[in-house]
Symmetry: C2
Subunit: 161 residues, 2 copies
């Protein structure tokens, strides 16, 4: 519980810092994309570090789906204290992970008022997923989508090499 | 355990981000002080937020020392999974909080090699303390000192109004 709020507060601070700093530089709207990239990259590195610890005692995975299930269950629970509520896949490398009550969105209103603010609170977590998967051998592109807060969907497209 | 590393990794990212961004701006050495201030201020806000949650069900404190004891024990444990090891005071508003194995310093070498790097990993935590105390009615100045990592001392000087 305590740690949860620590992470939530810290995450809020980072998001607000990254955006404020861009404003103070007078960057234009186009360059605001770099805020998202920055947060995503931070998440990526944190995800890489975390998954290394979480999988220390885990036997190897039998396939891609097995990796995704681990990420939805163990990885997500370790960070957000709940699992992903729903995992769907087209069995061709695309996965949709749905969290019906995403921790980092709950401090925002659950109405539509802050809907346009949502993406900046999702970038870090997209990075977390991409970092974790990358360390487990899956290079991917991760995007997020919100329709009704605090629910959200992460789409993972595994890159075939 | 999981959450601990989440906080540690995230903290590392913030520190490295704040310093990198200053370098990229070409700021000179004098202005590096602002990195410390920035991290301290983030810690301050997080400390304020956290203490509010932690003290929700706590009866009020009987005096300044009582507040300090709470911070050393409950507040510190909630964040760092261990208490402050030693609390000393001159009974005139100055307190020295010693942590013999400070979590955010342990990833650095425990030798002298990274000693000069230590301050940037302490600024956030100085802010945490100052924020928590401020919300409990004590305005203070908090500084940190390291002699042999990963041990460190936080000095709190309560400002009498």
């Amino acid at each position: 519980m305590a740690d949860d709020s620590l992470f939530e507060f810290l995450h809020m601070e980072i998001v607000s810092h990254v955006y404020k700093e861009h404003e103070s530089r007078g960057d234009n709207d186009k360059e605001r994309g770099t805020c998202v990239s920055l947060l995503e990259l931070m998440g990526f590195r944190v995800g890489q570090g975390l998954i290394e610890r979480f999988t220390k005692d885990t036997p190897s995975f039998k396939d891609e789906l097995d990796v995704m299930k681990f990420v939805c269950k163990d990885f997500w629970t370790n960070i957000f204290r709940k699992q992903i509520d729903n995992l769907r896949t087209n069995h061709q490398g695309t996965y949709v992970l749905q969290d019906n009550r995403f921790t980092l969105l709950t401090p925002l209103s659950s109405g539509k008022q802050y809907l346009e603010e949502a993406p900046k609170y999702l970038a870090f977590s997209c990075g977390l997923l991409r970092g974790a998967l990358s360390n487990l051998g899956l290079e991917s592109v991760v995007t997020a989508e919100v329709s009704l807060m605090p629910a959200c969907k992460f789409q993972v497209v595994v890159q075939k090499i």
